[in-house]
């Protein structure tokens, strides 16, 4: 049996820190590469004795620390100055001094976690509880009060006799050959493992289900839902008619539904003034709404050339002198009130959209009747655009 086991390496135990330093030095000087020293605590001067290069762990820390700082700052910049900018305490959107604390914390968090995870994965090559060295007498001694050195069989200069002699010369208290453990097949689909998975899954999902569907509906967790106020359209015994909702007081105006004072009047003499400046946004809105609601009858450019091909009476052109000389309020009046066959568009268009259409109609009118000055201006603009 013994002969079939694969040898991991040859290990020797020493009694004092001085002798292990000497041993490590000798082993290094003899040119062994795949060896390791095992001590119950870090022994000073061992790095030099083993000629180990300095640890590169610091680079992991630095990289992730800087990443953390960048992520934190960029995230705060984005949330506080781009995505949802809000003035808080009279400070600028990008209030740098106020961002320093969180930046610092995220830097530290990422740096430390990456250091430890990086150490365990890249520098220790993942946790290994089945390493051949475990559970040997050697391991149990170096874990407590002995100092050991172990030369692995993979070393090119590995030779049991030579190494035993070397260890004996160095004054080793004992030597031990360490074998690989026999391989045990570990199946994934073991019934025990599957049971564990199923139990875990059912516990997790059960807890989640009960939490989200039952516990949150128990007092006091539901006190945000169950509040002592009347919900919309629910009953209330407080009033005689048992209606929770009350009719509004006379004269109440709903938001966005300001009544139109000339409703039903024919051509008001002093119509409303246009409250909207024909800004670019306003005109773009006007164009969109005009094309949707007005152009089917009035035509794309207000010429009265309906797309409906006579299925409907043709409306007048919007470029008549009457229409051009009308005040903005008159055009608005017709949109709200309708005229002749044209129905009211008040229900389709809100106040801003109506005025935007009026502004857009003004643009169409000016374009159709451009003055010389307008043409000069257009030429200048087009030259500029070409040269660009």
């Amino acid at each position: 049996m013994e002969q079939q086991k694969k040898v991991f390496g040859l290990a020797a135990l020493f009694d004092s820190p001085d002798s292990i330093i000497k041993a490590a030095k000798t082993v290094t000087d003899k040119g062994y590469k795949n060896f390791d020293v095992h001590t119950p605590y870090p022994v000073h001067g061992m790095d030099k004795a083993m000629k180990l290069p300095p640890s590169k762990l610091g680079y992991v820390t630095l990289t992730f620390g800087l990443t953390g700082a960048a992520i934190a700052l960029l995230f705060m910049y984005w949330t506080m100055s781009v995505d949802y900018p809000m003035i808080i305490g009279g400070k600028p959107f990008f209030a740098f001094p106020a961002f320093i604390p969180v930046t610092f914390e995220v830097t530290v968090l990422l740096a430390t976690l990456s250091t430890v995870i990086g150490m365990i994965t890249f520098f220790f090559y993942y946790p290994d509880n089945s390493h051949p060295i475990h559970d040997t007498n050697y391991m149990k001694s170096v874990s407590i009060d002995k100092f050991g050195v172990c030369i692995e069989a993979t070393d090119s200069k590995y030779n049991e006799e030579e190494i035993s002699k070397l260890f004996a010369d160095l004054g080793a208290k004992s030597t031990e050959i360490i074998y690989f453990a026999e391989k045990v097949d570990r199946k994934i689909f073991e019934p025990k493992f599957i049971t564990l998975l199923i139990v875990t899954a059912s516990i997790v999902s059960g807890v989640a289900y009960i939490h989200l569907n039952k516990i949150l509906y128990l007092p006091p967790f539901d006190w945000m839902m169950e509040q002592s106020r009347v919900n919309v359209q629910s009953m209330s015994s407080f009033f005689n008619d048992n209606f929770g909702m009350r009719t509004p007081v006379k004269g109440t105006v709903a938001r966005g539904f300001l009544p139109y004072e000339f409703a039903g009047v024919n051509e008001p003499s002093s119509p409303l003034a246009n409250p909207f400046f024909p800004s670019k946004e306003n005109l773009v809105l006007g164009e969109k709404k005009y094309n949707t609601f007005c152009s089917p009858c009035h035509g794309n450019f207000g010429d009265g050339d309906s797309r409906l091909n006579g299925q409907f009476p043709l409306p007048p052109s919007l470029h008549t002198t009457k229409a051009r000389e009308w005040q903005d309020g008159n055009l608005y009046h017709i949109i709200v009130n309708g005229q002749n066959v044209m129905p009211s568009y008040a229900s389709q268009l809100n106040i801003e959209e109506r005025w935007a259409i009026v502004n857009y109609i003004r643009v169409l009118q000016r374009a159709k009747n451009a003055s010389d000055a307008d043409i000069q201006e257009i030429k200048k603009e087009s030259v500029k655009n070409v040269s660009r």
């Binding site: 610091g58 305490g89 009279g90 400070k91 001094p97 106020a98 320093i100």
Partner: protein, 395 residues
């Protein structure tokens, strides 16, 4: 216990060093005098800057001496003479403060009784901010420092000969008494000489701010001197790079501490945005001062921080020398930023240039003091019982 420290052979500092110090001091005195006659007001502000520079080095080093005793540190014992020499300006501070006391009216707004008469806030402060009490405080503060400096160095020198351990325990007791006194006196000095330049302004952290800067300045002088002296073979031959590491680490720690204190002060005032506090920072945010304010972050924090961050850098003599000189420069810039914005008089280019002569003179004075002290006493406290332990210090 073997007496390896007897291996130490004293070496005289070269006279070239003394001559350089003398030249710098003379340049300082001549330039300063010319500057004073050209524009007394600007000159006296520049003089205050150089005075604070000397004071911060001296008192910072004195604090480090007492810290070594009280903390029972031994790594710094082989360098203690260097620290003591850096503190040697302390007895002269009282003399150096005479030009300031003579020019209180130029420097301090609160010394004008006519201004105080119309200013309610200053009236409230007048029991503290008046010329008589100011002078008393100056004398008391410098006397306390001088006394402790005298006692520390006397015992330390005596120990070179007697090797008496009792002297160490006396100094430990003195240090324990000194440190609380230091906290109070250093704060008083900071408030008097710098905070009260702008008498309406107040900040509770100001004393700590001055403390962080002054320890940093003292550490830079000590670091630079240690590296230079060891390179020239003036220090104990058994000293190793591990001693450098401790200096580098302390420098690094105090760079961070300064940054922390400076940030705390700025942050709280910026955030609360109370006009009675913000005006001090706003004055340093106007005109070209904004560049100095911003430069301070880079010069006083970011640069030394990145230089000293890595572990090998803290042991590298070149980097340490660079960092030490750089931090000294940063400290001057910091003091400039603290003091000069209160100077509202006429300034001219020649005088601004001549203003540097005060700092040059101060550096010369530090060098001269170093030379004469090194001539009188050993550069290593050979009688100190902790010396051997200190020399064997390893990371």
């Amino acid at each position: 216990m073997s007496h390896d420290n007897l291996n130490f052979v004293k070496k005289e500092l070269p006279t070239g060093f003394k001559n350089l110090g003398l030249i710098l001091l003379l340049v300082g005195i001549v330039g300063g005098t010319i500057s004073f006659f050209l524009n007394a007001e600007q000159a006296i502000f520049n003089y205050l800057l150089a005075f604070m520079f000397l004071m911060s080095i001296g008192v910072g080093a004195l604090f480090l001496i007492s810290l070594e005793y009280v903390a029972g540190a031994d790594w710094s014992t082989p360098l203690r003479r260097v620290i003591e020499f850096s503190a040697s300006v302390i007895p002269y501070l009282i003399v150096l403060s005479i030009p300031i006391l003579l020019n209180l009216h130029t420097l301090f707004h609160w010394s004008h009784t006519d201004v105080v008469a119309t200013d309610k806030v200053l009236q409230g402060k007048s029991p503290y901010l008046n010329e008589m009490f100011f002078a008393i405080r100056v004398v008391v503060v410098f006397a306390i420092w001088g006394l402790f400096y005298f006692l520390f160095t006397k015992n330390s020198k005596k120990q070179d000969i007697t090797k008496d351990q009792k002297l160490t325990s006396i100094n430990i007791k003195l240090s324990a008494v000194f440190i609380p006194l230091f906290a109070i006196t250093a704060s008083v000095a900071a408030i008097d000489f710098m905070m009260s330049l702008e008498p309406h302004w107040f900040s509770t952290i100001f004393g700590v701010y001055f403390f962080s800067g002054s320890v940093l300045a003292a550490l830079s002088v000590i670091t630079y001197a240690t590296v230079k002296l060891r390179e020239g073979g003036y220090l104990h031959p058994k000293m190793v790079d591990d001693h450098y590491y401790s200096l580098g680490a302390l420098l690094f720690a105090f760079v961070n501490f300064w940054g922390y204190i400076a940030f705390s002060q700025y942050m709280l005032i910026w955030y609360a945005n109370l006009p009675e506090e913000t005006f001090w920072f706003l004055a340093r945010w106007e005109g070209s001062w904004i560049f100095i304010s911003l430069a301070l972050i880079v010069v006083h924090f970011l640069v030394p921080y990145s230089v000293l961050l890595s572990q090998p850098a803290k042991m590298d003599s070149k980097k340490l020398k660079f960092a030490a000189l750089w931090i000294l420069f940063a400290h001057v810039l910091d003091l400039y930023w603290l003091i000069l914005p209160t100077f509202h008089g006429e300034s001219n280019f020649v005088n601004t240039i001549l203003g540097f002569s005060f700092i040059i003179g101060a550096i010369g004075l530090v060098m001269l003091l170093f030379y004469f002290n090194a001539k009188k006493t050993n550069l290593v406290p050979i009688g100190d019982p902790k010396l051997e332990k200190g020399l064997n210090f390893r990371l």
